[in-house]
Amino acid sequence: MDTDLSSQDRKDLDKFIKFFALKTVQVIVQARLGEKICTRSSSSPTGSDWFNLAIKDIPEVTHEAKKALAGQLPAVGRSMCVEISLKTSEGDSMELEIWCLEMNEKCDKEIKVSYTVYNRLSLLLKSLLAITRVTPAYRLSRKQGHEYVILYRIYFGEVQLSGLGEGFQTVRVGTVGTPVGTITLSCAYRINLAFMSTRAGEDNGAVYPSVEDSQEVCTTSFSTSPPSQCVFTVTKAHFQTPPPVVTDTLKVPVMGLAFSHQLSSSRLSYQPAALGVGSADMGYPVLFAGGLNAAHPHQLIGPGKEGGVPPVPSQPAHGTQADQERMCTPLDGVHYSAATPSSSEDTETVSNSSEGKCGSPHDLLETIFIRKVGAFVNKPINQVTMANLDIPFAMFAPKNVELEDNDPMVNPPDSPETESPLQGSLHSEGSSGSSAGNTHDDFVMIDFKPAFSKDDILPMDLGTFYREFQNPPQLSSLSIDIGAQSMAEDLDSLPEKLAVHEKNVKEFDAFVETLQ
């Protein structure tokens, strides 16, 4: 009982348990950041490394852990839990693991607090370091990025395992007996990684239904095999976004630190209401964080990390249906890990640099179109905006339709309407040709001549050119008839040549002697 424990030991024990809990959270969260962790050994004790282990303290995580603990310590019936979950770019979420730090009533009164308990807690932390790398969530967290992110939540109280689905497995990391109870650290992890869709449907800005409310089984699924085999069989239906919502709250985050804190808060809350409230208050950051909901791809576009074409709104004024589906990629540029100010600042820097190029939403739309049209497309001068002066080969784009003839990349077609597939994709529906009078409202179709094109008269795309010239005609000198003819001539002239050589035999012999 507590009366057997000296007050100093009791104080020490409480301190050990408190810092053990904080370090446990750090190890778990850092193991799910998606990065390889590396800390240095130090032969000299620094005095600040609890349990003689170099475990960095991410301030945000410590703050959240302390907030969850609220001055309490794990005790019987009061466990500290770290919930690790996965959230896809479409808003589906799934709990992956629950790490529990519990205390039971089994006491070890003989154990020495300041020595044995401390060392065993250190050993337990090492075990936690090892175990956090062998559960399935580790492999998933290492692959997080565009399609999904890993989130964490800390809570104190009763362990809630219902979100792990059926047949979850548990692994015990270890136990440490103390005079006031036995500390147990364990992990319950999900086995069934099939998704239940939690998308909101057609409502813009709607809060997400909880997982229990979902009726539809999404085709997205994970396997427990390595992430290399995780296949996103997302159907076309997932790309059907609601009409784009352009809000005035679209902002580029300025203060990295402030942003990361908000990010943490939004991630920690899985209550849809909280997210909804957050959306109103926090504007872009929560849209960024919670806006993995594909309802607003619009707000997350930008040149993006992949350098490709940004997503297209669901109702583009131009462009074929094929283009829309082709370019409605999962949200890019959205990468954040389970926390840290430093790492989230880094990711934010990348996102900021990409997002910062976007001006108002209206310009954004225009930017999309201009980028979509492609490198060699001619644009009427009234469509030239600041955004498209940086297109490749801009110097070849004629200033207006009348100057087409002078453009080295453009020639008037002599044979009409032989459209290559590439030209077709640049068309808007119903428009064709590139004659001077047929200017489209937004862009003008031209016949462009790819490199190595055969001649100026017959338009030819690269594929046709390649096919045609893949099998060139045989060289005439190699043809059989000509070869046979020359052979006959050679044979006829042979006696004459021999006679000449015999005449000059002495010269040949002298030459040979010089060589020896």
Partner: protein, 242 residues
């Protein structure tokens, strides 16, 4: 630490070994996975069996340095593990594992329809030194022995290799859980030594961390179940017979 091609122990060591805690792990891997699998297991064990450097002060107290850790990704196995951040320790283990090379399957053996391929085992033994008076040498008393039995398989094609990558990764996860379970039983550990005795319990030669005294030994058998020396002798005989 010392590397012996085979285990041999005197009578006193054998008696002491009866009190030694022994754990056996078995893994089946492809040839090129042997090194990584061995390192993963050995590093995980040594992570738990290493402390920071001791700095003794007056009156028998001491402070302990800090142990750093780092993640290691395997190249041939879908697996990652944590090791102590000590290049010296890593080098020592790599050297030991590098010499442990279960032989690849010989071409004529590949024609066999079944049967085991190369086998071997590597042992990691933690011991304490007990000083003896002259002329007797110091005694090494093992207190924990980890034996990793390795079964080397041969694979026919890339698809099998890919499956093997995943399967071995899963198996290693199980081994790590097994190791952690043993470590957290909190069974016998040498008591913390005084300054004069520290070299009898810990390996103090590394500059950044301090593992318990350990030694690594290995044994290799080829596909016929014979030892490597027997095979070499036979090869030489066959060559001379020609």
């Amino acid at each position: 630490m010392g590397l012996c091609p085979s285990t041999s122990s005197g009578p006193r060591s054998r008696a002491a070994a009866m009190n030694c805690r022994a754990e056996v792990l078995e893994v089946s891997v492809e040839g090129r996975q042997v090194e990584e699998a061995m390192l993963a297991v050995l590093h995980t064990v040594l992570l738990h069996r290493s402390t920071g450097k001791f700095h003794y002060k007056k009156e028998g107290t001491y402070s302990i340095g800090t142990v750093g850790t780092q993640d290691v990704d395997c190249d041939f196995i879908d697996f990652a593990y944590v090791r102590v951040s000590s290049e010296e320790l890593d080098r020592a283990l790599r050297k030991a594992v590098g010499e442990f090379k279960p032989p690849p399957c010989r071409p004529q053996d590949a024609l066999r329809s079944s049967g085991s391929d190369g086998m071997g085992q590597i042992s990691l033994e933690f011991y304490q030194k007990k000083k003896s008076r002259w002329p007797f040498s110091d005694e090494c008393i093992p207190w924990e022995l980890w034996t990793i039995k390795v079964n080397v398989v041969n694979l026919a094609n890339e698809q099998e290799r890919q499956i093997c990558r995943e399967k071995v990764g899963e198996k290693l996860c199980e081994k790590i859980i097994n190791i952690v379970e043993v470590m957290n039983r909190h069974e016998y550990l040498p008591k913390m030594p005084t300054q004069s005795e520290v070299d009898n319990v810990f390996d103090t030669s590394l500059k950044d961390v301090q593992p318990y005294l350990y030694k690594i030994s290995y044994q290799i058998t080829d596909t016929l179940g014979t030892s490597v020396t027997t095979t070499m002798r036979r090869l030489i005989k066959d060559t001379l017979a020609l």
